[in-house]
């Protein structure tokens, strides 16, 4: 089975800095592989480990896709090769632009059985790209997948769809988006990381991208959420006296 797992390099939300005007500065943020994409990569790795074949990791974006630490990061998690598209036009791309770029990049990989996407990117979390990619490629596509059982020419998946659990038979090739509960991403060992450096890493440039014709969604501002001012009356200790004082203070509020 040939599986393609899509991933996105994103600014780590834990490292975002807020400027004095409340705007978020992305330029200083540390880059990471999107956390939900790691679930997709892990699900793909487990599939090929179970039924043979190969896993190709695929990402589109601008210069961040060539980050050498993250290149090893993705190739040490079960994929045998990695393809990335580096195009400045994809910086800050919305879901429509991203799915178009992925569809073009998939065309360079050749035949495949299954494309797996995470439930959403860790930065924008629109939860759109996987199904859009499937629709662009004209393939069966479904989101919310929580379990995959491979078979001959099809997969049987369980899907968590709002208040229902569905079992679906999906003809291959197909594109699925997996829920984060599908897998626990592995922590690569030193051996995996060393081996990752020797695996094929292909960078595609501008020629693989067809511009999407209609107007994009643009981000006009990016601001830190406003937090209400809180009194912050802090008691320190779990001994009887401290807890009693704390209980008296909150007891008045809870009446």
């Amino acid at each position: 089975m040939k599986v393609i797992a899509c991933y996105k390099i994103v600014p780590d939300e834990q490292s975002l800095r807020t400027s004095s005007d409340g705007s978020i500065d992305l330029s200083t943020a540390e880059l990471v592989i999107g956390q939900y994409d790691l679930n997709a990569v892990e699900a793909g790795a487990q599939l090929v480990e179970k039924c043979g074949g190969e896993l190709v990791a695929l990402s589109v974006g601008s210069s961040e896709v060539e980050n050498s630490k993250l290149r090893k990061g993705i190739l040490s998690r079960g994929s045998s090769s990695c393809v990335v598209v580096n195009n400045t036009a994809l910086s800050g791309a919305d879901s429509i632009t991203t799915s178009a770029a992925l569809a073009n990049a998939v065309g360079t990989i050749g035949e495949f059985d299954l494309i797996i996407c995470g439930e959403g990117s860790a930065d924008l979390y629109a939860q759109q790209v996987g199904v859009q990619l499937g629709a662009r490629l004209g393939l069966p596509t479904v989101n919310g997948v929580i379990n995959i059982v491979p078979d001959d020419g099809f997969i049987t998946v369980q899907r968590s769809a709002d208040n229902e659990i569905e079992t679906l038979r999906v003809e291959l090739p197909a594109v699925i988006s997996v829920s984060s509960s599908i897998s626990k991403p592995r922590i690569p060992g030193m051996k995996d990381i060393l081996a990752a450096g020797k695996k094929p890493f292909t960078v595609l440039g501008d020629e693989s991208i067809t511009a999407v014709s209609n107007a994009a969604t643009v981000t006009e501002s990016l601001l830190a959420p406003k937090q209400a001012a809180r009194a912050c009356q802090i008691f320190t200790g779990d001994d009887a006296d401290t807890v009693a004082a704390f209980a008296a203070a909150i007891g008045a509020e809870l009446k």
Partner: protein
């Protein structure tokens, strides 16, 4: 200002709520309903025009009607499409976006229509930031909750329009479907909520927290890891950016460090009380009352004292 025409479809029950949003944002509204004729008729008061698409075919998934929905959107000449916040509606939105070359804004709030486009706010970076995004596309799809819209009715209503449609040919077969057995709780309406995080430690400590929750006449909520990884509580009890947003009078955060992904969901609480062993945890800067210590020692005492 308003946009020309809004089109509403949803696979969940809250079509009326989305119609309120459509009436607020557009000059005229059309709602399409896949289901029984009675379900379609029930929507008549809420939209200018209601299209009954017929009953869903036996064994078909609602997502397989994306092609039929796209055709209706074109024939109605809509410039705005509204879908609900759910896995199915998101799937439909993505298919529509590709077939209609439209732009999608998911989890849209504070939607505003201006001359040059449709603006909305949405949480990004796990709630660490709020983005204002603008679509200048001829067709914009919004995937959104509708609870913030007041009951706005259309200026006129009409008879039910029947356009009976068929699902797309699809290489996905529905083998079986079962309603989730997991409990479903609406924390959004709770007056008091006790939330637990990783500081709980062992699952054995849960019963004490439950006793504390009953003592306070509160509902029990949690952080994402407690529901998704530890699976100690139902997903509907998870509070935060992709979970519940709560607005209680009192929120008691127990063993919760207060990462923004969680606190964005409790920002609307009138009073926040924190119990956490780490004095440096972000929750201690984002609470009204805090106590630094072991929650599993403090909570049994509070049950006696309160």
């Amino acid at each position: 200002m308003k946009t020309n025409k809004a089109f509403v479809f949803t696979s969940n029950q809250n079509a009326a709520g989305l119609c309120y949003a459509a009436n607020a944002l557009a000059d005229s509204s059309t709602a399409a309903v896949l289901g029984s004729k009675q379900q379609a008729e029930a929507i008549l008061p809420f939209a200018e025009k209601v299209i009954w698409m017929g009953e869903k075919a036996e064994g078909a998934m609602v997502e397989s009607y994306a092609g039929a929905i796209a055709d209706l959107i074109i024939s109605e000449g809509a410039s705005l499409v509204l879908l609900g916040n759910g896995v199915r509606d998101r799937c439909i939105a993505a298919k529509l976006a590709v077939s209609l070359n439209a732009r999608v804004i998911t989890d849209a709030t504070d939607v505003a229509v201006s001359e040059d486009g449709i603006c909305a706010k949405r949480n990004v970076f796990g709630g660490a930031a709020i983005a204002t995004v603008k679509s200048t596309s001829a067709l914009t799809i919004l995937v959104m909750g509708s609870s913030s819209y007041k009951k706005i009715l259309p200026s006129s209503t009409s008879e039910l329009t029947e356009v009976i449609v068929k699902p797309d040919n699809c290489s996905i077969a529905l083998i079986s479907s079962a309603t989730k057995e997991e409990e479903s709780v609406d924390l959004a309406v709770a007056k008091r909520v006790v939330g637990i995080g990783r500081g709980l430690g062992s699952a054995n400590n849960l019963s004490t927290v439950q006793a504390f929750t009953s003592k306070l006449c509160a509902e029990l909520g949690c952080t994402r890891p407690i529901a998704e990884e530890e699976k100690l509580l139902a997903k509907s009890r998870y509070i935060g950016v992709s979970g519940a947003t709560i607005v209680p009078d009192v929120y008691v955060a127990c063993g919760i460090s207060g990462q923004v992904q969680h606190t964005v969901g409790v920002a609307g609480a009138k009073l926040i009380i924190a119990i956490n062993k780490d004095a440096k945890a972000p929750i201690m800067q984002n609470c009204d009352y805090g106590i630094v210590g072991d929650m599993n020692k403090i909570i049994p005492q509070l049950i006696e004292l309160l």
